[in-house]
C-alpha cells in the first residue's frame, strides 16, 4: 500500500492529519476490520495510534518517531488516563512532532493548539469575547470566542499546549481545574453555564524544563500530568533514516531535486552526534556548542545544503555544502560556538580527512569558514 500525501501546495506545512490522511484512513479500516476497541472519544484504537507513530510494515504505515518505542507506548496509555501528558526534553527532540502525531491520530486533529509565550493570557486558555457583539448583545453564546482548550473540551479532542513553561505560572495553573474537574465555568453566561469536557478530551503539553528563562511549574499542575522525557536520538542509523525521511517531506521525492547521498548524510549526522554528545564515537572529547544540535537542525542543514547544490552549486550535494551550511544554520551567532566548531574541525575533522574523501571535502570547505 502506498502513502497518499494529499498536501495542498498552497500550504507550507499542512497539519499531520492532512499529511498522513491516507495512513490514518488505513489504520481506521484496520481497527474496524479487527474489531479493536476504541476508547471513548478516540478516532483510532490505542494499537492503531501506536502503529501510526512507530510504523507498521504490514499496514504500510511509515515510522515517524524513532529511538524510544516504550515512550510511545507510555504516551498512548497516558492519554487514556485522567491525567494530561507532559513531554519534556531539550529543544529539537521532536516533542512537538510527537504531540502533533498523537493528537492527529487520537482526535483526528492536531490544530487545537495553544502556543505558550510570555504573552499568553488566561483568555487564550479559557475563552474570550467578540467585543463588538459583547457590547451590542451582552454576553451570549454567540459573542463568546472559545479557546482551543474550550473547543477541545466541547468536542472531546486532544488539545496541544506548546511550550507551556514559557507562560507565567498563573496562566499555566488555569489548566489545573480544567484537568481535574474536566469542566470550565463561564460565569458571564449565568451561574450554571459551563463547558463540560466530553470523553476524548485531554491535554498534551510540551515543555523545556532546562531552558533558561522559563517559568517554574506548580506542584498542583505537575500532579495533573504524566511526565515523559524525550531524549535526543542516539542511534546513528536511525538519525540518518530520520533525516532522509524529513528531507523527503521537506523537498519532495528524490527525483526532482539534488540527491543527498547516503555517505554525505552520514557525515552530517556524525558531526551532529559528535557535537551533541561531546565526544566522538572513538571517544575523543569534543567541545559541545551551546546551540542544541538537534535532529531537526540536522534536517535544516541538509535542506539548505540541497538548495545550495541546486541553485548555486553543481547539482549534487557533497560534504562541502554540508560544511558551509552548518555554520549558518546550526550556529546561532554565538561567538563561542564558532570557536568550539573550529576546535572540532581542527582536531577531529582534520584527522578524519587524512584517509576519507568525504571528510576531506568537509574539511576543505570548513577550514576557511571558521578561521
Amino acid at each position: 500500500m502506498t502513502i497518499t500525501e494529499t498536501a495542498t501546495p498552497a500550504e507550507i506545512r499542512p497539519p499531520a492529519e492532512v499529511r498522513y490522511a491516507g495512513e490514518l484512513a488505513a489504520l481506521d479500516a484496520w481497527d474496524t476490520e479487527r474489531g479493536h476497541e476504541r476508547p471513548p472519544g478516540w478516532r483510532l484504537s490505542p494499537r492503531a495510534v501506536r502503529a501510526f507513530i512507530i510504523g507498521s510494515e504490514e499496514l504500510g504505515v511509515r515510522r515517524k518517531f524513532y529511538g524510544d518505542d516504550p515512550l510511545v507506548d507510555r504516551a498512548v496509555v497516558s492519554l487514556m488516563g485522567r491525567q494530561g501528558l507532559m513531554l519534556v526534553g531539550e529543544p529539537g527532540t521532536a516533542k512537538s512532532m510527537l504531540s502533533e502525531l498523537l493528537s492527529a491520530a487520537v482526535s483526528g486533529t492536531s490544530t487545537l493548539t495553544v502556543q505558550g509565550t510570555a504573552g499568553t493570557t488566561e483568555d487564550h486558555v479559557r475563552y474570550s469575547w467578540n467585543y463588538a457583539l459583547l457590547v451590542s448583545e451582552g454576553p451570549s453564546e454567540r459573542s463568546l470566542v472559545p479557546s482551543p482548550v474550550c473547543t477541545g473540551m466541547r468536542e472531546g479532542r486532544v488539545v496541544r499546549f506548546e511550550e507551556i513553561t514559557r507562560c507565567a505560572p498563573e496562566i499555566q495553573d488555569t489548566l489545573v481545574s480544567i484537568l481535574s474537574e474536566k469542566q470550565l465555568m463561564v460565569p458571564e453566561l449565568g451561574p450554571d453555564a459551563r463547558v463540560a469536557a466530553r470523553p476524548g478530551f485531554t491535554v498534551i503539553a510540551t515543555a523545556n524544563l532546562k531552558d533558561r528563562g522559563v517559568h517554574e511549574m506548580s506542584a498542583a499542575l505537575k500532579r495533573r500530568f504524566s511526565f515523559e522525557t524525550v531524549a535526543p536520538v542516539r542511534d546513528r542509523a536511525f538519525e540518518i533514516e530520520l533525516v532522509q525521511h524529513q528531507l523527503e517531506a521537506e523537498l519532495g521525492p528524490d527525483s526532482g531535486r539534488p540527491a543527498v547521498p547516503l555517505d554525505v548524510l552520514e557525515v552530517l549526522v556524525t558531526v551532529f552526534q559528535d557535537l551533541r554528545t561531546g565526544s566522538t564515537r572513538e571517544g575523543a572529547p569534543v567541545k559541545r556548542p551551546e546551540t542544541v544540535m538537534s535532529t531537526a537542525e540536522a534536517v535544516n542543514v541538509a535542506v539548505a545544503a540541497s538548495l545550495e547544490a541546486r541553485y548555486l552549486g553543481g547539482g549534487t550535494v557533497t560534504a562541502a555544502e554540508v560544511a558551509r551550511q552548518i555554520s549558518g544554520v546550526a550556529l546561532k551567532g554565538e561567538e563561542e560556538d564558532a570557536r568550539r566548531l573550529r576546535h572540532y574541525v581542527d582536531n577531529v575533522v582534520r584527522e578524519r580527512a587524512r584517509n576519507d574523501k568525504r571528510w576531506k571535502a568537509f574539511f576543505t570547505a570548513a577550514e576557511p569558514l571558521w578561521r
Binding site: D73, G81, V88
Partner: protein
Amino acid sequence: MAVSGGVAVSVGTGRRTDAVWELAPERLRAAADAVGRLRDERGIHFAPVRHHSPACAVAVRAAIEELRPAAVLIEGPEEFSRLIPDLLHEETRPPIAVLSLGGSGSSAGSGAKARDAEDEPEGAGFYPLASFSPEWVALRAGHAVGAELAFVDRPFGERSAAERALSGSAAPGPEGSGESGIENGAASGTARPDPFARTLMSERYLAHSEAIAALARRIGCRDHDEVWDQLFEARASAELADWRTVFDDVFAWSALARLDYEEGVLAGEGSLDREARMAARIAETVDRLSADRLTDGGAGPVLVVTGAFHTLALVEALSGAPEGAPVRDRQPEGGFGPTAQGEAWLVRYDHERLDGLRGYGAGMPSPGYCERLHAAHLRELRLAPESVSHPASQSASAQAGPIGARALATEILVDVARGAAGRGHGVSLPQVSAAAESAVRLAELRERSFPCRTDLLDAVRSCYVQDDGGVGGPGEPERPLGLAIAEVFGGRSLGDVPPGSASPPLVRDVRDRVRAVRLVIDDSVPRTTRLDARRTASHRAKRQVLALLDFVGAGFGQLVSGPDHVAGRGLGLITEEWQYCWTPLVEARLVELVHLGATLEAVAVARLYEAEGRLAGTGAGAAAGAGAGASSVDALARLVAQTLVIGMGWHLPRIVSLLRTTLDTDRDLSSVVSGARRLLGLWHARVELGAEEHARELLDLVSQALATAAYLVSDLGRTRAEDEDAAIGTLIDLRSLLRDAAAAGDGDQGGTGGEIRTAVVRELARLRDDGDTAPAVAGALLALGFTDGEVPDDVLVTRVRGALTAGADPGTAVRFLGGVMRAAPDLILHTPEMFDAVDDALRALQGDAFLAVLPDLRRAFTWLRPTETHRLAKRVAERTGARVDQVDVRVALSEEDLAAGLALDHELAAVLERDGLAHWVGSPGADTTRGEA
C-alpha cells in the same frame, strides 16, 4: 506436539510466537519432527528452558507432575550430581549456587580431551539456582515424583581449561565470549573485574543473536529480554501450565538463535563438546532405563532440562540427523565412562549477582521480581512452592501473597511507591492507582495477559516521575525512585545451605563463629555495628571475629571508625564501628582459603606464620648490615598488634622473641621508636584487647626498645640536611614515648624502665650540647629541652642568638631555626628575646642570601597555626611600623578569578558606556578589578 504441524500456537493476536515460526527454515521443521520421534520411540522429553525464567520454571513443574518421569537430566557439570542430596536437603533455600574451583575435573576414558589435560584449570565458577530457576524446580519436583536426578554436562574443570585455551588463542566466539563466560562473566564488553560473577549459566547467545534482534525490532521490543518477556513471561499462569506449548515455543525461539552461529564458532567455545557429553549421558540413561523396563516394566520417560540453546543440537545428535554429526563425532568410542568427580560446594548466593541488569551474565533481569512472579503463578495454580520445607525461615511472601500475576503487579507498584517514599520521593495514592491503571493498559496495548516487568517499569516512569529527571540509575545520578526500583525488582534475598557436608568446612566454621557472636548474616544487606570492647566482653568477641576475618582477607567486614591498633590510628577513641555484609564473595574467598586450614583459627595461624616468615627474612637482612630490614622492629610490633587484635595471644612468645633479637640488630631509631610506641599503645589497650596477661611482657619490650633508642640517639647528630625532617619527627615521637612510658606501668615503680629513660634523656642532652650535631636536630633538641624545662631561658636565647648571629652561614642558621620551629613553633611567640634574636638575624641578611634561604624560612614558619601566624604577623607589623590591617590582608586569587574580574570589568564599562555613563568609569582597570574581586 504442535510443532510438527508447522505453525505453532498463536496465543495472542499477532505478536506471539507465530512470528517465530514464520521465520523458521526447513532445518527447524525437521528437528521438530525429530522431537516427536524421540518422544514416541524412546521416551525422551525435552524441556528447553531459559535459565532463571519463572515461566519455564512453572512449565517444568507442570511437565514433571504430568509426565512423572523416571529420570530428570539437567544441564550442569556432571560432578554436581554428588551434591544432589544436599540440594534436596530440607534446609537448602535458594538462591544458592554450586561453586566449582576448577581442579580435577577429569573422568576415566576421556580420549577426546587430551589437549586440555596439561593445564591445571583455575578460577571459580558459579552455578546459581534461584527459587524460580527451572533447574531448581526440576530437582525438587523430580524428587517429589521419585525420579532419578542427574547433572549431565561436561565437568567444569574440562570446560574451564578449554575456555582458557580458547581465550589464549583469541578464537572468535559469539561476541568473543561463550555461554560460560570466558572472561569474568561480564555480559557487556566492558569487563567487570569481579571474578566471582563468572557463572556457568549465562544467556549471551540470545543477547547477541541477529535473528532475535530482528524479531525484537519487528514486534517493537527494546531488547532480547523484552522479546522473551513478550513471548513467554507474559503468559498467564494457566497458559504456562500448558507446558507442551511453552516448550515448543521456547524450542523454536532458541533454535532460531542457534542457527545464527556457525559450527566453527560453536566448536571453538566448547558448546559442541558439552553437547556431546549431554547427548551421550542422555542416551546412556535412556538405554539403561529401557533395559530395566524390559525386566520390571513400567518405568516412566526421561525429561531433559537444558538451556534451550542446546536443545536443537541434542535433538539432532540423538535422532541421528546429519546436522548432528559434529556433536556425535565428539563422543569417544567407548563412551565417556563413569561420572566425573570434582570438587564443588554449595554456597549461599544472592539476588544481586543473579541480576542480569547489573552486568552479570547470569540470565534474567530483576530477580526480586522474578521470585515474586513465580510465587504468584504457583499460588494461582494452587501449587505449593518447591522450597517450602523450611517453614521457620521461609519468607512470608512465598506463603501468602498476591494470587496470580495481575494481583502481583499492583503489589509491586505499591512497594516501589513505598520504597521511594522512604527515600524522600513521595508518591501519592492517586499516582499509585494511576500507575496500576497505566500498567494494565500498557499490557493490553502490548498484548500481554498481565502487566509484565517492562509494563510495570514504564508505569512507574509515567506516573511516579514528576519532572524531567527520569528515575535515575546506571549512567544517571542516583535518585530515590531508581533506588526503590532497584530494591523491589532486584531483591535482596540470600539463600541458605544445609549444615551438611556440601559446604566446605571452613565456610561452615566461619558461619558458626560469626553467628555465635550474633552478627547478622541472613541476607546480603550491609550492616553497621558499634562496639565498646573495653567494657563489654561480648563486643570484644565480636570485634575479634571481625578482625580475624579481616586479617585472613575474607572481605566480610571493615573497621569504619574507632581505634585501629594495627595501623596505630584513632587510639584515643573508645567505641569502634564496623561495617559488614555477608555476600557470596565472602564465601567464595573463604573457599579459596580452604587449602590453608579447615577452621578460621587454622587459616589465621597459617597467615600469621606467613607474615612472620616474611619479617624474619628481612630481619636477617638487617643483621647482615645491609639495612634492608630497617623497619622490622616497627613491622614486628605491628604483627604483635595484629596478633593481639585477632585474639591469638598464645602465639605471642614466638613473635616476641623474634622482636627481641631484632631490637638488637635494628639500626633505625625511627623504627624502634614507632615500634615502641605501638607496643605501649597495646599496653594501654590491654583490657579491650583481652591481653592483660601479656601486659608485663609488653612493658618489658618497651624498656628494651628504650635501651636500644638510647644507644641509637647519637646517630641523629650525623643526620644529613635532607633527612633532618624525618629525624626531628623521630625526636618528637621519642619525646612523647618517654612521657608516655613515664606514665605507664604498675604505678609503684614510677613508670616503665626508669633508669633507661634517664639514659635516653642523658643521650639527648649530650647530643644537644654537641657542636657537631646537625643544626636542625640541635635546634629541635634545644626547643624541646626548653619546653621540658631542661634548658633555662638564658641558655636558649644565647644559643639562638649564637646560631643566628651575623657571621653565621645563613643556610645553617635557617636549618637551625627550622628545627626550633618544628619542635616548638609557639616558642617565638612566647619568648620575646627569641623573637628579637630572629628578627635581628633576618634583618641582617643581605638581599641575595635572604632570597637563597627564603624557601626554607617560609617552610619553618608553616608550623605555626593560622592564629599564631596572625599574632606573629601583628607583632612583626608593630615592629616594622606597618599598619596591622594592611599586613593582615589575605588575598587568594587564582588566574581564573583574575580573568573573570577583568571580563566583568569590561562588561561593566561597556554597559556604562552604552547607557551614556562612560564618565563614571574614570580610569578603567585596576581599581574596578580589585573592587570586584
